[in-house]
Amino acid sequence: MRKKWKALWARRPRLGRGGKTVRNLLLALALAILVWGQYGCPLPTAELEFRRAERRNLLPRSEIVFASTGRGEKYIGRESGQSVSLWKPVFIGVAGDGVTAAYGTRQWTVDRYPLEEGPTPASFGYAPAVVFGPGVQEFRFPLMFISVPQGADRAELEFRIVYRGKEHFWSGQGFDLGGGTWLFPLETPEVPYGDYWWRGGGYVLRLYRADGSPLLEQSGTIPE
């Protein structure tokens, strides 16, 4: 038996340097794929990760209306003098009659909401935003609205929810992130809270033009 194996081994095709190089490169490629798989198949850009998250979750490919790489980009509030940053990659896209909102951690969290006529709330299960200002640096929850009319120069939000038996209320101004997307940095409830604590909350959104005249008032419920 051993002799047979030896004879077989002796009859193996001899590769020249070119053949060995090709063989090695193919082997290195297979090994690289294994190593890449070991680390969860990371992709080079956040957008590619977002697109993959859409496909993994069986969602249609959306048109991206807001994207943030989460590298501490600061969005400045015109009047407040404060700025807000998102600390992780965040994408919001529109496909058909729905909005896809995705937040990038190791396993991307993806949610889908119905697209409404006018400003549409779309946010993430858990995503921290940081508000900076004179003597201020606070973690807040970013409640996002898309499809906000371009004429809006200032936006105010009132948010109310009864969470774990306790009423939670927040009101404040929003940050214009561009492209019709606004961010409202909600304070989190005083009681222990989980992801999606804000779902089912009621809101009133007021938009104002640059001259201060009202543009739009809309009330609704954050979809569950």
Binding site: G18, T21, Q38, E54, N57
Partner: protein
């Protein structure tokens, strides 16, 4: 021998820019030269070594011309690619051996006992419970097993193949019935293995009853647990398995429909429980 031969050899290989090739060719030429000198000394015993070397060098040819020809044949970039490929293979093998050695199977599948390379049997992998899945989903003699089906329903969404592979209906100890379904999502694109979310699954029976899942799952105070749920039932590089269980299944329901999607369903599976068909 030394000086003239050295000069000749150095000149002949000078234009080979890839170091290992240059050294290998030099060795071969040196061996040829030595053989020639030895031949001369053997054929002409009266000849001294210097003269034998001179003659041998003359027979080897013009070193510069040979050098130009060798320089054209031996492309340096091919040599560097070859060296790089060897390094890559060695590094890759060492890396995988090291991680394999220290982490074992965990390196690739994780330490979850539900992980498996392939779903060869179309059954959820709940290794924690041993072979309960075989009992649950495969037809057997247990009188409490009311139904065991292989619906074989399939859908394709975004390149992901979703299958409803198994359905089983059991009568529990309290006389109530529980419906089990095993779903699997698989794709050859291992870098984007599909997932299903419990809160996007809607289950309806033929009597119009909707079985709450996710946050809407009702609790059963008798068992201090959730009545319904959908939990991971095994996964691998190319597949994700999910097991759906619905307690207090209506015994008069004739079929079950699974609608999946955040709004409009992206796929729907309907299983006829009366006739055992899909």
């Amino acid at each position: 021998m030394e000086r003239d031969s050295k000069i000749w050899l150095d000149t002949a290989v000078r234009l080979i820019r890839f170091g290992p090739d240059r050294r290998a060719v030099r060795e071969e030429l040196a061996a040829h030269l030595e053989d020639k000198i030895a031949d001369h000394l053997r054929l002409f015993p009266d000849m001294d070594e210097e003269e034998a070397e001179t003659r041998a060098l003359n027979e080897m040819g013009d070193a510069a011309e040979i050098g130009r020809a060798l320089g054209k044949i031996h492309k340096p970039w091919l040599g560097y690619v070859w060296m790089a490929s060897r390094v890559l293979v060695i590094v890759g093998v060492l890396w995988l051996l090291a991680t394999g050695l220290f982490r074992g199977d965990d390196a690739y599948l994780g330490d979850d006992p539900r992980s498996e390379w392939w779903d060869t049997d179309g059954l959820p992998r709940t290794a924690i419970m041993g072979n309960d899945d075989d009992l649950r989903y495969l037809p057997g003699e247990d009188p409490d097993q009311l139904l065991a089906l292989e619906p074989g329903l399939r859908a394709e969404v975004n390149g992901q193949n979703i299958s409803l592979l198994r359905t089983a209906l059991w009568r529990e100890e309290d006389g109530l019935q529980t419906l089990y379904c095993y779903l699997r999502v698989n794709t050859w694109r291992f870098w984007e293995r599909g997932v299903l979310r419990e809160d996007w699954m809607k289950v309806t029976d033929s009597k119009g009853k909707v079985y709450g899942l996710g946050e809407d799952t009702p609790e059963d105070p008798e068992i201090s647990g959730l009545l319904n749920g959908m939990a991971p039932g095994g996964y691998g590089p190319f597949h994700s398995g999910y097991e759906l269980y619905l307690r207090k299944w209506d015994p008069e329901a004739e079929w079950v429909r699974l609608d999946y999607g955040p709004g409009e369903p992206v796929f729907t599976f309907t299983v006829d429980l009366e006739e055992g068909t899909a």
